[in-house]
Symmetry: D2
């Protein structure tokens, strides 16, 4: 018989979209990844007792707190999973780390560089005491993107020349879509830039193993007034779309675009890389596919090949189903928790670290400054912690 596995009690803060996705992943990581620590879905925190209670029942959490600070005091919680909007990340994460709890914090790490810097400092202090922290850029763990990263690192595309990254959605196309908090700068920080732009910045830096060193940017708000829930209209104070071009630490040219006005594109996160000896292409709407051109192929039979990333050889895929059986969006969260549990058990630092999250924040900040100016070249502040 196997000995009983050690457990890690999880306290999740927030129970909206991300809370649902995380719950499914906490539920699934055990059966499929056989982690060295068994997660226990101990407690869910939400401000409304009624709504949090209903969510806990639906999502499978054993208890409820209405104040997230209570989670830090509970002995049955060793890991805080932060699923709240970005403006509360810093406060919760810093407090949790100080309290000796491991932290998984949803992306973006924070709404400002200053908050992110404070979080990195707290993570550094906590690390010294064996407390782990991770930021939730889940798309790194789409098997096709993890494979892409591995192939780039293995030299399969040679010296990087071009990065082309887009995150195209269309949920604001309708000018009558209401003025939700995501469209208000004081709540959301920025618009498409911080929400989905952050994903492609992180994904592109992850896959290439290079960081952006500077950018030229444009942003736009196409629909400047939108209906308010209570009647009347109010101003949209964030960007609807952000475009920028830049250079990477290895000398490649990069082009980025994040928009909520790409009519007909629902969730199209696209990344293309061209290197001196190969190319890769990916689209999140075809999550299980990675396209690869190998310049080493004989000229007469070369071409972009569609790798269906569901083989036992592929990252994460072997834990699930036989070849050709499609994986979905929420699997990425399960992979994230599998790696986090491995790291906690092994006493190593999971990735992406808070420092990596800070570096993304600095790119976002450079984009914002360039766009507010005349679009001229704006260097990305160096991350002295040396992330990415």
């Amino acid at each position: 018989m196997t000995t009983e596995r050690a457990t890690v009690g999880v306290g999740m803060v927030g129970h909206a979209f991300m809370g649902r996705a995380h719950s499914q992943a906490w539920r699934s990581v055990g059966p499929f990844f056989d982690p060295p620590l068994t997660p226990v879905m101990a407690v869910l925190a939400g401000r409304s007792a009624d709504r949090a209670g209903a969510a806990a029942r639906e999502l499978g959490w054993a208890s409820v707190e209405t104040d997230w600070k209570e989670l830090l005091r509970r002995d049955d919680v060793q890991l805080i999973d932060i699923c709240t909007p970005g403006d509360s990340h810093a406060e919760i994460a810093v407090a949790a780390l100080e309290a000796g709890k491991h932290v998984l914090c949803e992306k973006p790490l924070a709404n400002t560089v200053a908050e992110a810097e404070a979080m990195v400092a707290a993570a550094d202090r906590a690390r010294a005491r064996g407390v782990r922290s991770m930021v939730g850029f889940n798309y790194r763990r789409v098997p096709a993107l993890t494979l892409a990263r591995r192939m780039v690192a293995d030299g399969r595309i040679g010296a990087l020349r071009h990065v082309r990254a887009q995150y195209l959605q269309d949920w604001l196309t309708d000018p009558q879509a209401p003025l939700v908090w995501r469209l208000q700068k004081d709540r959301a920080g920025s618009g498409a830039l911080g929400d989905i732009g952050a994903h492609i910045i992180d994904a592109a830096q992850f896959v290439t193993g290079q960081s952006l060193v500077g950018v030229s940017a444009l942003t736009e708000t196409f629909v400047r007034e939108r209906p308010l829930a209570g009647g009347g209209t109010g101003p949209v104070t964030v960007d609807d779309a952000a475009l920028f071009i830049g250079r990477t630490s290895g000398g490649a040219l990069a082009s980025f675009e994040a928009t909520r006005f790409a009519t007909g594109r629902k969730n199209s996160l696209r990344i293309e890389l061209n290197g001196s000896s190969g190319s890769l292409a990916f689209d999140l709407e075809s999550l299980n596919e990675l396209w690869f051109h190998d310049e080493a192929d004989a000229p007469g039979t070369a071409g972009f090949r569609r790798i269906l990333v569901t083989e036992a050889e592929h990252p994460y895929a072997g834990a699930w189903w036989p070849p050709g059986h499609i994986l979905g969006y929420e699997h990425t969260f399960t992979h994230q928790f599998a790696d986090l549990l491995d790291a906690i058990a092994a006493g190593t630092d999971p990735s992406p670290s808070f420092a990596e999250g800070l570096q993304v924040q600095r790119v976002l900040e450079a984009v914002g400054r360039s766009a507010e100016g005349d679009g001229g070249w704006t260097a990305v502040q160096t991350n002295s912690e040396g992330s990415a």
Copy 2:
């Protein structure tokens, strides 16, 4: 506050590939579909206490039995989920129904028409006592195929002219692949025909709303001797591939192909329909996409459109994530259980019924007879129960 939901205790027999898929679905159906009956993963049955115990821990079942007959005696079990190979389906299902347990039986319903007929008779007797039965053709609940069925029923493609169905895999391409039980006629009944051919027969009949009335068939075994686990070689006694053409009850022409020798195709279940006013096309390797040509479109701007079947309007998809977020293979089992729980609660018959499973068996039988003869026209026996 909501009142406590009624529960249904589930006893699952078998814990291999299908057992894992079903377990994940039983775990997921509650959080995402809010079923009127809450499933309780009560007991898993497996012949080896050790292996069943390990599986129960891994997959989340509360207890274990080594004899499936014990499940029929337990008061905490109201539903038997049969995940064993086809040769045991009839015995378990008939006994479970006699014992008053609802039954979900994996496909194919049985290995022979005679067994399937006995199961249908048992299902009919049980139905009279309010006991429900369902056969697990999970691909009916791929959202894209459910949508296709709805569109056909709504007349979106008009009068059906052509069905083109293929199930292409490649795991037997290597002649050194071992002689597993699936390649032995006495265990598996048939080869590609019953295993994956059954899926496309059911899927095509489901989507079109028509049944196959007759077929002309060819089968082939490309590699006739394979290595035995214990050394030496043995004969492959089932088909490696099966092709047949036929006619549907509505006068369409149909072409089917099931093979394990389609090098490079991992799990490519493809269905194309051409009707008098539109066409549909699907490939399981792109599970979230349905292609639709609408003959009513203006000629200058008509074309096959790629419907990304992840919208709130689409079958099942709204229960999961926002538009554009990809669903995977195992979601189909969750959908199956959601519908089964709804039917049990409502006192209605879930679909596909055992009678529908029998009808698929009859098509398989006609294909086998045609292929063993000279490939001439062979009528599919009529299902007097009138399913499909």
Copy 3:
């Protein structure tokens, strides 16, 4: 300076769709392929002097005859290009060959096996006198299909297991489409079978290097009465669609479908091959692409690759434009004439020969016999001339 090239005077019979395509190819072969014989567009034959004269002016022919027999008497004509419907092929071709003229005859070679046999006999006699003959299966010279044939011959896909060929059009979907001669058996011989089915039979046999040895077939006429030009309706006496399955000389399984009722498919000639070590896929609607799966690729990075068949290494493509510049439908005829002129100059036999055309006719005949019977296995008559 180069010496003046020898010329070959061409007399074309017929000036409809095929006549236009051939004219463009005769015009283009010189500038792009630098053939050893320069073709001279000497004379066009058509029954109506007015219409033939207008066509000659439009298409660039130097003179006109209203009786094709006159072409055989003219000293300025060395090659007869037959672009008439199939029922006149035998008479013209046999007479031309007897008169010592080289012959290019459009496909299908004839409307019956008997006619085709007489043509092969005439071709054999002519060959002894250095007179060449060729049948116009132009799709063999789509660069992607020529490349596919070369790859199969080079062993790139290993032992052939599966052929999947479809020719899907939709121009008869509308039940009000008129009863043209192509829908009358006495004129056209057969419907979709002989018209487009012949193309996929030839293309599949060409690419695989194997011939069909037997078939089981179904045909159908979906719309049995259609409007006549002069008012009223008349019966459709040919097939709207033909399906058959069969075996090749090398033991592969084959599936064929030809239909004019595939709504939304305009000219979709699709061929897929699965072999023991690779697969190929092609669709004429994407004429410049060949998809190739190489089983020798490392498992983690294997996948179907899209070869854009426009490189200098590719068949015919180097004669046209730089890589990535798309070729079109009519280029296939130019390639055909380039090879024909090479063969005439070299004193060798061009391919496909009349014997190869006869073998396709025998497959069509076997399909017809099987479909008229009960769809049972029907052997394809052996071509004693040993073609294909």
Copy 4:
């Protein structure tokens, strides 16, 4: 009988890649487009009598001149077709227009804005005398792009939000590729920017009906030394790749990228447009396809549809073959000449005019200035002639 058509004698200057493409188009325009003026391939000009003579024979020109100025004196020439490199365009075009000859000038109109301005002035003076001029942006006449332009003009995508244009080639990926004149600034003006960047600027402005008003740009030379033909190496003095973002006259955001380092992309000119009520996407490697998302489609069955632009309803396509028969690269030149001959006969101005060519030049110039500076916002000079 028809009366004899009037003719227009063509004198072509240059006989390299573009000369071959134009010759094929002059040869093809008559048979397929029945133009009101019949072009006569009168004379080809090239500096070397030998090479020009060989080219004339190969390409079908009736005579040869070694000094292009002779063409202006010949009475049998009414139209000058300029196929030389960009540095000679201005001199030839201005002289030809002064001599009363119609002019078709290959793109880019010139190597500098000043030259282009002089050409526009000459075109204006000539127009007053009924002499026509046109610049050869042939991709406007890819049927799919002409259709896209028509759909945008018809309001099918609503208010334009995004333009995404890329021209991706890979012929410089190999660092050992020689230092040809195209990589020398004094000869070529710029690198990828002027060569292929000009195409996407024109195509995007044409399709959207809007012009670029300002840009932020980056350029890069990845391989700075290349082998010289005579041995040794020399410096590459032009860009290998150019990226820029900008805004259009209608307020859309635009992203452009032109590169010769996109490994595996042979000739991938891609344009995507997102509008308030629809989207369009195109890739020149799939020249016959236009992808269209119509926001007016019912949500449950909406999706990007693949329009195969080969129908009689589509621009130019009806002149060629039946639906589904693929057109190629060189057809675009035939379309260009068909429209030019129509305009000359009708006494109207063909498009794109020299003024439109000048406007593209001004965009290129703004991109160059931005990239040489810090990448900041650079306004595109207004074209006082009011083109585009």
